[in-house]
């Protein structure tokens, strides 16, 4: 996983709430067996609309998406994260995220940044006024900065450390393999197994 420390880039204001995973990438695009190549399905239903924010030249190469509350609710498809990353996004700013999407994003190194609605609305207005506004997402300081403003955002220490170091989750867990084996040794034998009964 690519490390995330401090990222400064341009941002795209997506003035919508409740952008569910079917909007981020429709199921039709989930048939591929690769981990990349999903950008063509990103926000598919909106991409034909010339007024859609990512179709505007000023926002087409944005690396930060600033959007409304409950972003990523819906299905567990990690393809939503991959599609956003394939498009070039490094961080998503929203007041609140769907739980599974948020978990998937953290696993893959796409930073979910929770800022209050007022901050999101300030950013929307500022980005409309100046699409080239530089926005900084600073994971070290857990802070977003734009213009004269700054906001801190919450993230637990462990997730932050993993992202800062770009560490492989499975490798981290396997440090505790002895604990897993001990737990398995104590599981009741009546628990079901999937071999044909």
């Amino acid at each position: 996983m690519e490390k995330f420390t401090v990222h400064t880039g341009t941002a795209a204001p997506l003035r919508r709430s409740n952008v569910d995973t079917d909007q981020i990438i429709p199921a039709e695009y989930l048939k591929r067996v690769s981990r990349t190549g999903f950008a063509d399905g990103l926000f598919k239903a909106w991409r034909d609309d010339p007024t859609f924010v990512l179709n505007q030249p000023a926002h087409a190469t944005a690396t930060i998406l600033v959007t409304g509350t409950e972003f990523g609710v819906g299905s567990s498809r990690e393809h939503a994260v991959w599609a956003l990353q394939d498009q070039g996004f490094r961080a998503i700013v929203a007041p609140r995220f769907g739980d599974i999407f948020r978990g998937n994003a953290l696993k893959g190194g796409l930073l979910p940044v929770e800022l209050p609605s007022e901050a999101v609305e300030w950013l929307w207005d500022a980005l409309d006024a100046d699409p080239a506004l530089a926005v900084t997402v600073d994971l070290e300081a857990r802070e977003v900065r734009a213009g004269e403003r700054s906001w801190s955002f919450p993230l637990d220490d462990f997730s932050r450390w993993r992202l800062l170091e770009g560490l492989d989750d499975i490798g981290l867990t396997l440090r505790h393999e002895a604990d897993i084996t001990a737990f398995e040794g104590a599981r009741p034998s009546r628990l079901p197994r999937t071999q044909a009964a």
Binding site: R16, S17, N18, D20, D22, Q23, P26, A27, E28, L30, K31, R32, V33, S34, R35, K44, A45, G68, T69, E70, V73, G74, S75, S76, R77, E78, H79, V81, R96, G98, D99, I100, G103, N104, K107, S117, D156, D157, F158, D169, I170, L172, T173, L174, H176, E177, D179, I180, F183, E184, R187, P188, S189, R190, L191, P192, R193, T194, Q195, A197
Partner: protein, 468 residues
Amino acid sequence: MSDQPRTLAEKLWDAHLVRAGGDEPDLLYIDLHLVHEVTSPQAFDGLRAAGRPVRRTDLTIATEDHNTPTDNLFSIVDPVSQTQLETLRKNCAEFGVRLHPLGDDEQGVVHVVGPQLGLTQPGMTVVCGDSHTSTHGAFGALAFGIGTSEVEHVLATQTLTQRPPKTMAVTVDGVLPEGVSAKDLILAVIAKAGTGGGIGHVVEYRGEAIRALSMEGRMTVCNMSIEWGAKAGLIAPDETTFAYLEGRPHAPKGEAWDEAVAYWRTLPTDEDAVFDAEIVIDAAELTPFVTWGTNPGQGVPLGAVVPDPSVYTDPVQRGAAERALEYMALTPGTAMRDVDVDVVFVGSCTNGRIEDLRNAAEVLRGRKVADGVTMMVVPGSARVRAQAESEGLHEIFREAGADWRFAGCSMCLGMNPDKLAPGARSASTSNRNFEGRQGPGGRTHLVSPQVAAATAVAGHFAAPADLV
């Protein structure tokens, strides 16, 4: 720890802690991992790249459901779909995972297959790369959906790193009125709580109306927990649960059964346990429900009208309602019963079980699907299909003019050939009415199997009681 009164969710959490404390999240053991073709290929690739095996093939089972046709069992038209299914077959063979492929007697929607095999049991942790894994919470199992990275993590370690969620009680007191189903109940809960109301919480559904539900009804309720953002839904195990499980292929037998039941009886939330939040609902006030918008929280009683966005004081909700009405091509003030439909879909992990099909068939018996309406009935699994046929339900569906199909996710998600045409309006027993969910431009209204069947006959939204 055990002296403190605990909720069911907390008991399940504690019983699966491999390790806790320190700077790291809790490490939780997973008792059952369900796998399907869409969210697993990249996970198996990851294992291969790292040279890791599947740690517990005996706690892992796969089936094919999202991407499969339901009009036949053998001809997959889309080569990309074919590749994805073949990839699952190759991965399962290579890593030693039990697979029920298209055409197999046990094939079906992953959340129908686990319970019907008796693999889902009270007290377990169950995960799957699918958000509707919350279904299995109906048994008093901690069950939740995960992404592909976590699928790989479970395949490699049989564990997940997790932070303890908050707990919430949804208490449904009283008795559901005649004609009001589990689906209506959960749609009403979501309309009340909002699509984000459950975020960060494991929700336990309790109260008299929940206790009175069958296992199928409980699965419908828990299935849609994710539609209001909950991490998982739970219902405490009781005699209904035990009766459903006893004798199923993977249920414990003999002494092990007695031992298991004794343990399961210790699981319900202790009397003095405290939830972080609670919602109380009076079952007597519930009626058949239907969604009008593009998220599952945008629903109203069937007897209501399409709401005017101006009733929402919250500008975010108002904006969402305006956009939803435009997408759905609905006018505020229109009676829901006056809205005509083109397609009726009965099926999915929400309402594709035998009881759902019986409920739909009961309404259709001796009646005809209205002219201009297409009705599809898709059993949740090959077993459900066989059971329905042994009861003659398929004859009722066919005589009514409905299409009786093979098992799969079908029109729930617009990933296989069963899709809603652009602009077409459906009454669907599935779980999501998102824009384009059932096909680009399709307009989805979520309903119960009973309302779906009555709507098919009437041609517009209707309850069985409306039919002459």
